[in-house]
Amino acid sequence: MIIIWRTLIKVSKIEFIESIYTLIFTCLGFYSTYFLIEMNYNSILSSALIGFSGCLLCGKKCLNYKLGSEVIYCSSFAAIGVKEILNSHVEISILLILLTVVFITSKNVYRGFGGKLGTIAFITTYIIGSVLSFP
């Protein structure tokens, strides 16, 4: 699957590693927020906590990935309010992959605009929600 992906998209080795990192951080941010919400924590508190800890985590040299904190914060937004529409892990996985793709493709668009991360999360959840609710 990885070979097909690399052949189809034709990314360089660095870009490929970056996209894998993005996917890992997306999963990390999403699932940690999702579990906090499942444990009946306030959804906004969960998202802020995960965003803050993501910043502390990505500041360390061992995980010196530039966009790490942004990816974690973005995926934590996506985790708010998806409990009602996503029921299985397959659906969640599709959401995470789509979120990663949208994040990577919009990396150089609207740089420095506040709310960009939220918009990415909104677009992704809206697409998945619309597809799943389609009769």
Binding site: A48, G115, F122
Partner: protein, 118 residues
Amino acid sequence: MFLSILSCLLTQVLVRRLRWNSVKASASVTLLFYGMFMFLESSYYIDTSNYLKVVFGASFAGMTKVEISWISTSFIIGVLFWLFFTWVFPYLPYQGGALGFSAFLSVLTYKKLSILLS
């Protein structure tokens, strides 16, 4: 509206003065206000859930990179965010993303307006 402006300004202050990462600043502002609201809720039984949403969303708008006159810019973006939060946010699904989307709309409106008026 006051909370929206305050949150936006506070995030900008943390980013510009303390040189914090914008994500860290936004999350810190939300956590700070969450603590304050929890205290208010437990002491005076005030429902603060909507206020927290305003603070959270306005802190996204405050993450915007502003080169000049950041105080007035943050002020205007804060007001615009409040307008979008009042008129657009209730019609959008998926809370987390919708707040960010409202913030993005307010920043985009500000940028377009500033280009038109200059």
